[in-house]
Amino acid sequence: MGSATLLIVLLIFLCCGGIVSLKSAVERIPRKKIPGASIIYIPSGKYLKYATFGYSSLVADLVYLWAIQYYTTYTIVDRFQNLEHIFSIISELDPRYTDPYEIGALIAVNEAKDLNLALRILDMGLAKNPDQWIFPFEAGHHAQRAGDYETARKYYEKTTKIPGAPDIAKRLYAAAGLRMMDLEESWKTWLEVYNTARDDRTKKIAGKHLYQVKSISDMNILKGAIQQFRDRFQRLPAGLEDLIRVGILPSLPKDLDGKDYVYNPKSGEIKAPSVWWKR
């Protein structure tokens, strides 16, 4: 090796060292960034699809991978602003790719604390994949967790209408109905679950809930009757039979096992004879 070559090799090594140290020096200097600036110019998925030259599925994968990294970067404070936009891009590029809708909704509900955004993403998934029960099911689950039982019930109802939906969707629909105190609908659904149950466990669960629905309904009637008695006589009835004697009730309701409801004449409280979930 000649001295000139040696000199060049030495120069290459020196440059290598220089590149590495300069790069780390540059990286140490913070650069101001506009939050979310990297994504606001991403066009709609419809148009982006043309630019993928037939690799729309691959681009959807890449956008999804990038989105996961982006939304787990906690330093970007306003990262959720374009969440719907990003996941709509993925849905346009690969409408049958189900994971992004579910993860997008999870990010929306757990990180962004925006239930409506999560529901919109899942609605998008359902619109593109009407045969996938998982989207309304997840939407119902998120709404239920947020305490929005009316929305939850609406989504569980949608789930039950999609072929292949799990049996639990109907049970959750009934449970949400009970939470809304729609006892009649809840009773009807639990009864249907009970009658169509394919295993003992489901039958047992439905039976317990039927007991619960009926006892709530009966206790509501009894509580109303006790209030009427109190309004009329300015005192609590000594026993539940008093309600029949004064003509407020024609007969006393009994629980599903044929047992009488437990009445406390001192406090006027009514209790079911059995605890529904222990039954």
Partner: protein, 254 residues
């Protein structure tokens, strides 16, 4: 002196290249189009003009560097004119550096012309000149110098088509390598992370020359950033040129 002679000759050669004028023509159209595009927006029109203008200078500049640079050395070998040249008292590194500086001079003229059109358009629209825009163009030119060196490196041992693909890949990698940092953060400490760190250190980071967003949005930039970025670009160019010289020195011409 010899380098200067080759550089001037290369400059004369490249300035006569039709592809250069074709690219310049399209660049001028793109720059003018930025004014038209701004009409379609709702809100800040200057932003659109600046964005499209700076991007046009960068993209067409890179295309010029790649399309001309990759054929520069190869043409001499292919047409056998290199025999006549190297038979003279010229060292191979002088020949290579001459070619490099010749193309850099051409690109300087082209960047200057595109920059002038851009500045005039912005000036006509806003009535004032932002000095930082010139800085953005200067760093685009620094990037072009590095791309020219890479194009010449590949031109030393490969055909123009392959060299163009390699140089374009270098450009794309350079603008995407910042994503490695995210991957490093998500990787568990160990060999994998170490390997990624090594890769990140060696791969070019062309985002160091990209001040377009900051300048368009008027964000403050640490002056040290300009300094270190410029130094980084120059050292990287030197590194690529040294590699090119080493390869070209060892090459046999049959």
């Amino acid at each position: 002196m010899k380098i200067r002679a080759i550089a001037l000759n290369t400059f004369k050669e490249t300035i006569r290249d039709r592809i250069l004028y074709l690219l310049f023509f399209f660049a001028a159209i793109a720059l003018g189009f930025s004014r038209l595009l701004a009409v379609l927006t709702v809100g800040d029109r200057v932003k659109i003009i600046k964005d499209v203008g700076l991007a046009s200078i960068s993209i067409f500049g890179v295309l010029m560097a790649i399309l001309i640079g990759t054929g520069l050395v190869y043409k001499e070998i292919d047409k056998k004119t290199i025999y006549t040249l190297l038979a003279k008292p010229i060292r191979r590194w002088q020949f290579l550096l001459g070619k490099f500086f010749g193309l850099v001079l051409t690109l300087f003229i082209m960047t200057l012309a595109m920059g002038l059109i851009f500045v005039i358009i912005v000036l006509l629209h806003t009535g004032k000149l932002d000095g930082r825009m010139l800085l953005a163009i200067l760093f685009i030119f620094l990037e072009l110098i590095l791309i020219t060196a890479v194009a010449i490196l590949f031109s030393c041992f490969s055909t123009p088509i392959l060299s163009s693909i390699f140089t374009l890949s270098f450009y794309l990698i350079g603008h995407l390598s910042w994503g490695l940092e995210t991957l490093i953060q998500k990787t568990r400490p160990g060999t994998g992370r170490l390997a990624l760190r090594g890769l990140s250190a060696i791969l070019p980071d062309l985002e160091n020359f990209n001040f377009k967003t900051e300048i368009v949005h008027g964000l403050a930039i640490d002056p040290r950033f300009y300094l270190f970025s410029a130094l980084y670009g120059l050292v990287y160019t030197l590194f690529i040129l040294a590699l090119a010289v080493l390869i070209f020195k060892k090459r046999d011409f049959i």
